[in-house]
């Protein structure tokens, strides 16, 4: 019996309608074989649009449906649901993309209309061969993996744990807290970062539902939505977390001091250390690279003095496997390396510092106990704050790092508050977009800060007149006055931008998610699915997706938590049935497909001498289908007859 096909052409407002003559396309479709009805409508995805399809299925007895509209990414599920609710198997529906692949790529109405006809006819020919497929349901493991213990990961972990679900929080560093733990004050309210962060860190450490795995990282992540296995590498601390009470005796007695990473090398720490006193967990780690026992075989002073016998030099790296149903990546960012911009002299000129170094200088428990001092120990008489270091610059990062304008204003405020110095801000544009931000900018305008609009060309140490002697000379074109200014200062603070973390490629690979052009993790939809990824059950939050300030990071952490909880409470998820199937009788047992499968979904059945695909693991990427030399693998909904019909229709034009 011939199929009865309904074809629906969407105008998508003017997105398609402006360049494609949708009426003409519908008229054309009506003449194609087996098509019994073809209509065009303003918005097919709207309620009336969907109703139209459902009615036709019921009244005309349609057996196949084609919708020509946008890319299937967004609305394929919408139309599949509509078709299903009218009693048709959802896989008897075919979507044709006449927006991204047609109307958006030309302004020529005639060509666009012709192309739309080709795309529609290909979909119509193909849908004849679509087969009904059954969706498989799998249970969702309620446990959640969160990678990254900065403010974003902390927020997400607490939200989820408070709802009663188990959270594995993995942090690479010896402590959670991330960058925020190193900040002094936070803009625009100037509340102390530690005061608002450390209580949350303590909650994480004490929460019965959170298992904190610090000094660890995820090396492998396999499985599928609802049922993942994460392999976590636990680096040896050489201190037994269960025995240690965090008394700090070992740190006091350790004879070796080395530069502290937490203090940007401005202060010292011991070879056995906690990055800062409020670290969570409070268990110290032994820095194997410096520790006298590990380098010279002598010392063991910490072991001698530990009242609990918690020091264990024999500890080894170990791997733990945890089962989770979903994961949130909150891996954060790296700061731009200012030494890359040679003309700013960072690393060469001693009083050119980064904004993070400034945070440590001005922090009450930092290396100078909160005093803003030059390298010679004197307070500065003048300070330049340089915006957009590594940001909005085609040589480095094209994007705006979003947080620097505001934290630069905070820097200016703190310098003003703590010293007598004259403050200059060199900016390109002042971006004060958040709640209370513009007001903060206005406040600074009244605090006697000199704002100079112009990107800094260089920071020089070669004086051209006596007033520049012994100073750093900040050179910039003042674009409001149209002149080049040379401003002599004692201290230059570089407001460095935010970059993807240096291990971003590896993490993206481990979790099989994509990255955007700027290198950060790619969200599923920039507006409507900002914390989802193309990988079902894997979410991203905070600055690993792009530069964000603390309010936005916390909001995303909570948003990712809500997404996860929604998934967990569904209890089961549907798996796409569009996976690869092996036709046993044709499989020659060559094993080519096994090595190629990116999801480790194919194994080998020795007794039957053939490859076997684990349906739940298969993502339907099609690699094995293309590679199989015997043509023994077929992908559901992408079968030979379907694809050939599609190609034939295109070639016939």
């Amino acid at each position: 019996m011939a199929e009865k096909i309904g074809v629906y052409i969407c105008h998508c407002g003017t997105n398609i309608g402006k360049t494609v003559d949708c009426k003409a396309v519908a008229e054309y479709a009506r003449l194609l074989p087996n098509v019994v009805v073809a209509r065009d409508y303003q918005y097919m995805c709207s309620d009336p649009g969907q109703e139209m399809i459902k009615n036709d299925i019921r009244e005309l007895g349609l057996t196949r449906v084609v919708v020509a509209s946008c890319s299937p990414l967004m609305h394929e599920p919408t139309f599949r649901r509509a078709v299903e609710s009218a009693g048709l198997n959802p896989f008897l529906f075919q979507m044709a993309n006449i927006r991204e692949q047609c109307s958006w790529i030309t302004e020529n109405r005639e060509l666009a209309t012709a192309r739309a006809k080709v795309i529609v006819s290909a979909a119509v020919m193909r849908v004849n061969f679509n087969e009904p497929l059954q969706v498989q349901k799998v249970p969702v493991n309620p446990n959640v993996l969160i990678v990254g213990g900065g403010i974003t990961g902390i927020e997400a972990a607490l939200q989820i744990a408070d709802s009663g679900k188990k959270v594995y929080l993995v942090e690479k560093e010896p402590t959670i807290g991330g960058y925020m733990a190193r900040f002094d004050k936070t803009f625009p309210t100037l509340d102390c970062a530690a005061c608002i962060l450390t209580p949350k860190m303590v909650s994480v450490g004490q929460h019965p539902n959170i298992e904190l795995l610090s000094y660890s990282d995820v090396t492998d992540f396999s499985g599928y939505v609802g049922n993942f296995t994460a392999r976590i590498r636990r680096r040896p601390r050489y201190v037994d977390e269960d025995k240690c009470t965090g008394c700090g005796q070992c740190e006091q007695k350790c004879p070796l001091s080395v530069p502290s990473e937490f203090e940007c090398d401005l202060g010292k720490r011991k070879a056995i250390y906690r990055p800062f006193p409020q670290a969570v967990p409070s268990t110290p780690v032994i820095d194997r690279e410096h520790c006298l026992y590990f380098t010279k075989g002598v010392c063991k002073v910490c072991q001698k003095f530990c009242p609990r016998g918690a020091i264990d030099f024999e500890q080894e790296e170990k791997y733990v496997d945890v089962q989770v149903g979903s994961a949130i990546l909150a891996t954060g960012f790296d700061l731009f390396d200012a030494s890359r911009i040679k003309e700013y002299g960072y690393g060469r000129l001693p009083n050119v510092i980064t904004s993070l170094e400034f945070e440590r200088l001005t922090h009450a428990s930092g290396p100078t106990a909160g005093k803003i001092l030059l390298k010679n120990g004197k307070p500065p008489e003048s300070v330049a704050i340089v915006h957009c270091v590594g940001s909005r610059d085609l040589n480095y990062n094209e994007y705006c790092s979003r947080v620097c304008c505001m934290y630069s204003l905070k820097t200016a405020h703190l310098v003003h508050e703590k010293t007598e110095a004259k403050v200059y801000e060199f900016y390109i544009d002042m971006r004060a977009f958040g709640k209370g931000y513009e007001e903060f900018y206005k406040r600074l305008l009244h605090e006697d800060v000199t704002f100079i609009r112009g990107r800094v060309a260089e920071i020089a140490d070669v004086p051209q007149n006596p007033s520049e002697k012994g100073k750093l000379i900040v050179v910039a074109e003042d674009t409001l006055l149209g002149i080049v200014r040379r401003v002599p200062v004692d201290l230059a603070v570089l407001s460095v931008g935010l970059e993807p973390r240096r291990d971003v490629v590896q993490v993206a690979h481990t979790f099989r998610i994509s990255r955007s052009k700027d290198g950060f993790f790619l969200e599923k939809h920039p507006k409507l699915a900002p914390v989802s990824t193309a990988g079902d059950g894997i979410f991203i939050a905070g600055s690993c997706q792009g530069p964000k300030d603390i309010p936005d990071s916390v909001a995303q952490g909570a948003a990712a938590a809500a997404n996860v909880l929604s998934l967990v409470d569904r209890k089961e998820v549907e798996l796409e049935p569009t996976i690869a199937l092996i036709q046993e009788e044709s499989c020659s047992g060559c094993k080519i497909c096994i090595g190629l499968c990116p999801y480790n979904a194919i194994s080998f059945d020795e007794t039957g001498n053939r490859a076997v695909i684990a349906a739940a693991l298969c993502k339907g990427c099609g690699v094995c289908v293309a590679a199989c030399p015997s043509g023994a693998i077929e992908q559901q909904n992408f079968t030979g007859p379907q694809l050939l019909a599609e190609v034939e229709a295109i070639c016939a034009q």
Binding site: K342, E343, R348, E458, V462, Q464
Partner: protein, 279 residues
């Protein structure tokens, strides 16, 4: 004076077993200024040299950063812009030439440091220039705009070479700043000011002489010192020497062979303090 660059470069290359062959029937690169007058013709001038080099199956080594920039720019455009390539190709065809893009363009300094290397250079040292304080002056074009040789803003490749031959390169923050170039002809005041800054910076940092890698820089900084002194009431007498001249001295060539007696500001006194023969 530029003859001295030519002489010393050839001698040093000979000593290092670099086989230099003068390009047959080469033409002027347009000295970077021609680009501003007629860009396409300027590129054609470069392309002709590149095409001849390709025909002779050679890479191009230049000692002048202006030639380097012009030739490299043409090479880049040809590789990136197919329409440009067709236009240039048509021009070359009129001269019975063609260019496929295989020629590499290098500065001699780059070749000596990266290809020949430290041990080869050091093996040829016959005299030490121990303690000679030199300001390494790169000028603006060696690394800009492409940055293929070294960091664009703060290169160190010449510092490295100067250390190999026993001299002491001083901190010279203006090492990659402009000497004024052809502004010396059109806007002398500005150019003299720039040279004053360079000389002042070299002197402040204790340099006894300035090492150059560019004939134009060399001319401005050396020949115009008298004018700088006149204009600013200064009293600079800092000799400038091509890096190849300093190398040649270390390799044991005579000052006469290297053209060291030809400059306006004599370097004899400075050099004699430091030259010691290795026995």
């Amino acid at each position: 004076m530029n003859r001295a660059y030519d002489k010393s470069a050839r001698l040093v290359c000979g000593a290092l077993d670099i086989d230099l062959a003068e390009l047959n029937d080469w033409n002027c690169c347009g000295a970077s200024a021609y680009m501003a007058i007629h860009e396409l013709r300027a590129h054609l001038l470069s392309a002709r040299n590149l095409a001849i080099a390709e025909k002779e199956k050679k890479d191009l080594v230049v000692v002048c950063p202006a030639c380097l920039t012009t030739l490299t720019k043409t090479n880049h455009y040809l590789a990136e812009d197919s329409r440009f390539k067709r236009t240039i190709g048509a021009g070359l065809k009129a001269a019975n030439l063609q260019y496929w893009g295989s020629v590499k363009v290098r500065h001699l300094l780059d070749v000596i440091v990266k290809d020949i290397g430290e041990s080869e250079v050091k093996a040829r040292i016959k005299r030490k220039l121990t303690g000679l304080k030199v300001a390494p002056y790169y000028g603006c074009q060696l690394t800009r705009p492409f940055g293929e040789i070294d960091d664009k803003e703060f290169p160190t490749i010449l510092d490295t070479l100067l250390k190999w031959i026993g001299t002491e390169p001083v901190n010279f923050p203006l090492k990659a700043k402009c000497c004024g170039g052809l502004l010396m002809m059109t806007n002398e005041d500005v150019a003299l000011g720039l040279n004053r800054n360079l000389l002042d910076c070299a002197q402040q940092n204790g340099a006894e002489c300035i090492a150059t890698i560019c004939p134009l820089c060399h001319m401005n900084i050396e020949t115009y010192q008298g004018d700088v002194n006149k204009m600013f009431g200064t009293n600079f007498r800092i000799p400038a020497l091509y890096f190849t001249q300093l190398m040649g001295l270390a390799f044991g060539f005579s000052r006469k062979e290297l053209g060291i007696n030809e400059e306006l500001i004599q370097s004899q006194g400075v050099l004699e303090k430091h030259l010691e023969v290795i026995r």
